[in-house]
Amino acid sequence: MAMTLAQKILQMHTDEEVREPGQIVECSLSGVLANDITGPLAIKSFHAMGAKKVFDRDRVFLVMDHYTPQKDIASANQVIVSRRFAREMGITHYYEGGCAGVEHALLPEKGLVKPGDLVIGADSHTCTYGGIGAFSTGLGSTDIACGMVLGKLWFKVPATIRVNIEGTMPRWIRGKDLILRLIGEIGVDGALYRALEFGGSALKDVDIEGRLCMANMAIEAGGKCGLFPSDDLTAEYCRAHGTPDPMRLAADEGAEYERTVTMDVTGMEPVVACPHLPENTRPVSELSDVTVDQVVIGSCTNGRISDMRDAAEILRGRKVAKGVRCIVIPATPAVWRQAMDEGLFEVFSDAGCVISTPTCGPCLGGYMGVLGDGERCISTSNRNFRGRMGSLDSELYLASPVVAAASAVTGVITGPEAL
């Protein structure tokens, strides 16, 4: 049978024969992830299940990233639960403090996920690893506890929506613009229960960090995962990040798709998602009258080194507009260090940005840039639900680091061409 990427990867992890969408198969897991918010619930379920050990102490990943360093007593107490569990179980990959970064940037960077893997995480943006050809999906803490104990879980084989990216990528268009445009076209439940599979002739022009960003937001269309093939670019990335011989993967010719969406990127303008859903997309040039109080550049969507370089390229020799807070958050300690070594911190500092240590922080309204009543922010994160970054009366716009940085300079939503 000709298979989609989703079917192919699930088949690699089960003894049952993967056939049609809707079929339920039990699969072996390559990795199981939880963070400082979802870990304690998973650990509670783990104990309630009567379990004594994790299925594989090298393949359970615990990353304390959402409120790190812990913002208050309650969040600090939650980390104690995970820290103790990691110690008791002898978990190899427990990350906290100066070792911790935003989980979905950290795992691929450390080579803990590779093409063909099947990974579950107690975080909805676990779908990020589809950017390097891994089937990964977000689940709740109790499913994660089950995965931690048994190393297995049931999956419904998803139908797949094929997305072909064609044409010539304009200079300032990034993966973020492509995924926002797609969500704008198909809606926030356009891929509900389904896999997104990306292909097309312009895929070669989307680098791995751009692909990770796109896969990250598959969930914002309701998707189970967002899968990219594992090609030359993937191999190069994986070799540089601890996987010497990564698997090549592509969907079979003649695989069955529920539908195919084609996006021609030629002449495309940067895209911004307006409040309060990621599907409310507009070309950046239509929003030049929208003022901002805060700009956030970071997150599991756009906190990688290429994002830092994009922001720095825009901010070099320029100043953040008076009255605007621009918060730059490198997603991992390695990105933080690389940005510093490349002199990007000088650029950010000269421009008047706040430079944070790695954290999810403001993306979920946690801390490090929470919005007050009536405030407006443009952020490179993935979700702009009402109240997501703070007050229920605040507003959140989503864009690429290029657009976010340009908006920081002018104080209104601005594309790079308008600077």
């Binding site: 309650a74 506890a145 926030v188 439940d189 309204g365």
Partner: protein
């Protein structure tokens, strides 16, 4: 066994930040989470809820994060079941794993009015609005979801698996 409850209608794309905002995620206590249920939709929303009430929702209920605190907050608020047009997939799994009943009914959801009393009979496969007389057929659950409900949720299911392996306490 059928049960009845008062309807609280909510709109489409009610996300997990609306169900339980992140600032309340510093506990795993169901009752405490319940006190903040729907706080991101409307402050004080939960005050209208009585034990055994039912949420009736539009498309894509529970979209957003994977936080299991969302179904827990709904359970903690005393809600017995959620009838929805459709549900976000992570929320759907989480709810069944936590023992919260979800009933996916598509466009039929529009037949139910806010504030009415619903009678839900899972065995008969029916939902009835006792105030306007509307009746909705409930599609059967998939075998895996049925297994989870029969076992009393995911925790018990895994417990049984471990017993079979001789690894449980």
């Amino acid at each position: 066994m059928s049960f009845t409850g008062k309807v609280h209608k909510v709109g489409a794309h009610i996300d997990t930040d609306a169900i339980i905002p992140a600032r309340f995620l510093v506990t795993t206590d169901t009752r405490k989470l319940g006190e903040a249920c729907m706080e991101g939709l409307e402050p004080g929303w939960v005050k209208r809820v009585h034990e055994g009430d039912i949420i009736v929702a539009g498309r894509n209920f529970g979209c957003g994060s994977s936080r299991e605190h969302a179904p827990l907050a709904i359970i903690g608020a005393g809600i017995r079941a959620v009838v929805g047009h459709s549900f976000a997939r992570i929320f759907y799994r989480n709810a069944f794993n936590m023992g919260l009943m979800l009933l996916e009914v598509g466009d039929e959801v529009d037949k139910i009015n806010d504030g009415d009393t619903l009678e839900i009979s899972p065995e008969n496969g029916t939902i009835r609005d006792l105030d306007n007389g509307a009746e909705i057929r409930i599609p059967p659950l998939s075998p895996m979801m049925q297994t989870l409900i029969d076992k009393g949720g995911m925790v018990n299911y895994v417990k049984e698996q471990l017993k079979l392996r001789g690894e449980a306490e």
